[in-house]
Amino acid sequence: MKYRSVFDIIGPVMIGPSSSHTAGAARIGRAARSIFGREPKWAHIYFYGSFAETYRGHGTDVAIVGGLLDFDTFDERIKRSLEIAAERGLEIHFHKEACVPDHPNTARLHIGDEEGELELVGVSIGGGKIEIDEINGFKIRLTGEHPSIIVINNDRFGAIANVAHVLAKNEINIGYMQVSRKEKGKTALMTIETDQNVDETILDEIRKLPNILHVAKINE
């Protein structure tokens, strides 16, 4: 079941006009910022499918940038997010892609600053709900039916055990876990589906562990 909360149906509170193309887009932008851990200095945003067709009229562009600026779906500043981004020195480039994605509302974000970069593919599945499909080229295989977190870490022994230990200590049960890496010793990704919601204090605990680069909640 993709929609697990009544507030997925009655909600979100948002700036119009479209829950999938405005609110969903804002959430995708905000997820990218949250995983990156800070406001980026530049962003290349690629729109696919129906996002690509309707982004001007639905404010998908201002919404996604609003998300990168950490605005929530109902933040009135979304309407001026392109000006605010310019003021804050965030350089934005939009690209409309022709290739047909698996889902009509797909966006790829490539963001970064002098210290690092992140690439993320997000999908707006309807009613404002989103899914993160890919992070830094790693395909995220999640059902979307449970709370989930992702951890990007340096590929070192003990990283996985440490994260699992923090969750266990907080009585969070892991339902599904996927670990992947591109190359031995470089960066790796953990996608973890849990039975219980993981709150911000637990995420902070994980952030403090050695070799952890990014931690973010991607589903509640």
């Binding site: 929609y3 009544v6 149906i9 009655i10 509170v13 309707t54 109902f74 309807g126």
Partner: protein
């Protein structure tokens, strides 16, 4: 998971002598681990947002494109005059549904129920029906939980967005949600709520998503108007004892199959239906400077 289908939801409610809204709150408590107070309080915030949106729309708004705005004001003035032909509650619901969607089109703040494009139906019917039924604040919040329960089943078994299932999935779902909520508020049984949803959805099967210029304005605002009207009529029919020959879950399944069979041109691509009419294309060209989908 307490329920996955409308049948399970109704059986659960009736066997425990509870309302659909109660079951939805229980489900939310189970899923989130939060207390009843927190959950009800959060829904009340959504109710406040809906009130503010209706208020703003009734004062008068216009979208940036100029395609929509001002109809809620016209309708309210017409109601004031008193010469209307349809019922006062019905017309009031229509005007408030329109008000909400006009605010949405103007990029104002609304509460998606279940989507922004269909955000007018549930609040429109709620704020109209309240003038007849005089619910407590708690009952108004319960209305949203009932609507949410139906939407929850539809979203997980079919679709709730125009891009995936057409307008039957967006405004249709919203209307089905509202119909059940009206019946519960009016004192109907959970079974009657399901009948109202079935009757509403049946009458919106095949409705396409054909937004002019790809914007969430034309015909979306007027579709919310008719969705609200459908919901109220279906609620009355269910309260009168009328039953749908096809059970609610099968109607939802039918809506799902119809949505799958719909061509992309009629699923929020602005390539068919009203979007492709000469006037639709002319408006599109005027707003965007070029005709997009030729």
């Amino acid at each position: 998971m307490l329920f996955r289908t409308v049948k399970e939801l109704v059986e659960l409610a009736e066997s425990r002598n509870k309302k659909i809204s109660d079951i939805m709150i229980e489900q939310e408590m189970l899923m989130s681990g939060k207390s009843r107070e927190e959950i009800v309080s959060r829904m009340e915030k959504n109710l406040e947002v809906m009130e503010q949106a209706v208020e703003r729309g009734l004062k008068g708004v216009a979208s940036r494109s100029g395609l929509t705005g001002g109809d809620a004001v016209l309708l309210q003035a017409y109601i004031e005059k008193g010469d209307f032909l349809s019922g006062e509650i019905l017309l009031d619901a229509v005007s408030k549904a329109v008000a909400t969607n006009e605010v949405n089109a103007a990029m104002g703040v609304i509460c998606a129920t279940p989507t922004a494009g269909s955000a007018g139906v549930v609040p429109g019917t709620l704020f109209a029906v309240k003038n007849k039924l005089h619910p407590s604040r708690e009952q108004m919040v319960a209305f949203l939980f009932t609507a949410g329960a139906i939407g929850y089943v539809i979203a997980n078994n079919a679709f709730i967005s125009g891009a995936t299932g057409g307008c039957q999935a967006e405004v249709g779902s919203a209307a089905g949600m509202a119909a059940a909520a009206i019946v519960e508020m009016a004192g109907g049984t959970p079974s009657q709520c399901a009948e109202a949803t079935a009757i509403t959805l049946k009458n919106m099967l095949g409705l396409v998503c054909d937004p002019v210029a790809g914007l969430v304005e034309v015909p979306c605002v007027k579709r919310n108007a008719m969705g609200a009207a459908n919901a109220i009529v279906a609620a009355d029919m269910a309260l009168a004892g009328v039953k749908s020959r096809i059970p609610c879950d099968e109607v939802i399944e039918a809506m799902f199959r119809v949505g799958q069979a719909m061509p992309q041109t009629l699923k929020e691509t602005a390539q068919g239906g009203l979007a492709a009419t000469p006037t639709g294309r002319r408006l599109e060209a005027k707003i965007f400077g070029t005709a997009k989908n030729e």
